[in-house]
Subunit: 63 residues, 6 copies
């Protein structure tokens, strides 16, 4: 702990994932006063057709 | 908020997802008195071999 | 399956939860063509201080 | 209920999943005194590039 | 990893949680061939009024 | 999206939560190139007796 789960739209590069994991971990350590090694992050990428906002599929509103 | 996450067996069409997102959002608005735009839905489709009921994989009981 | 998890701001009555579970289940059955008995819903109520939008705690922006 | 969700690194065989679902269900029944049929398990397999530990992607540390 | 999340009805004793965590971890190690130290379990206890099955709140069907 | 869920041991102050939400959101914006307003964070605080590591309850190993 802390355990961080990030759901995001598919399409980021591995460089972006790498940078995100690094930066978010540092933010957790800085603000929660936890050990770096204790921070775990799980990324889940979602297709636009698997998201709905306001009753509409994201794939229908966002090209 | 509300955030709605739906886990379901793989195989629905995009038309079914579209209808589900629309209907579930309307049900949330009607019963929880929240704004339509505030309802977010995340769909996750699961393979039958990734589900277990009563100690048995769903792929072993359901063709 | 389907499994539906609903995260929402604390404060709804049990009548609202009861209505929401009924209506959302009916929406699932109607659009996904699944059995009513198969629909499971798990509700989680969240405090405003446990939500952040745009980098700000919800308890800081919403009385 | 109980609902058990297992996130694990991709790569297990269906035999391993089958055995895990069987054994974990039996452990739940034995210790929680619940009915076998009531135990549901959902497996999610993750790529190493979707996991971060200590600020580093698992795909960068583990061949 | 593996990460195991268990959602269950409120009311188990700490002895039951302790036994469950021990037994489930051993089941994971035995079937998935992972290290004991790598298994993490997160328990969430739910009120019956926060569960719905077949469109009905669990608190309405189960005393 | 992105949706960030943070599970952490109970006991942080609201100031720590406020700082964490701010910093993590900025890390997401910087590395994923998303809009600040799009980042949502849900915090869940866990009791030590609801966590298991290596088959042992966290409340049994950590005073």
């Amino acid at each position: 702990m802390p355990l961080v789960r990030v759901d995001m739209i598919k399409g980021r590069t591995i460089e972006q994932k790498r940078a995100m994991v690094k930066e978010v971990t540092e933010s957790m350590v800085k603000t929660l006063n936890c050990k770096k090694e204790a921070v775990r992050i799980i990324i889940t990428e979602k297709e636009k057709e698997d998201l709905g906002v306001g009753g509409i599929l994201h794939s229908d509103t966002d090209g």
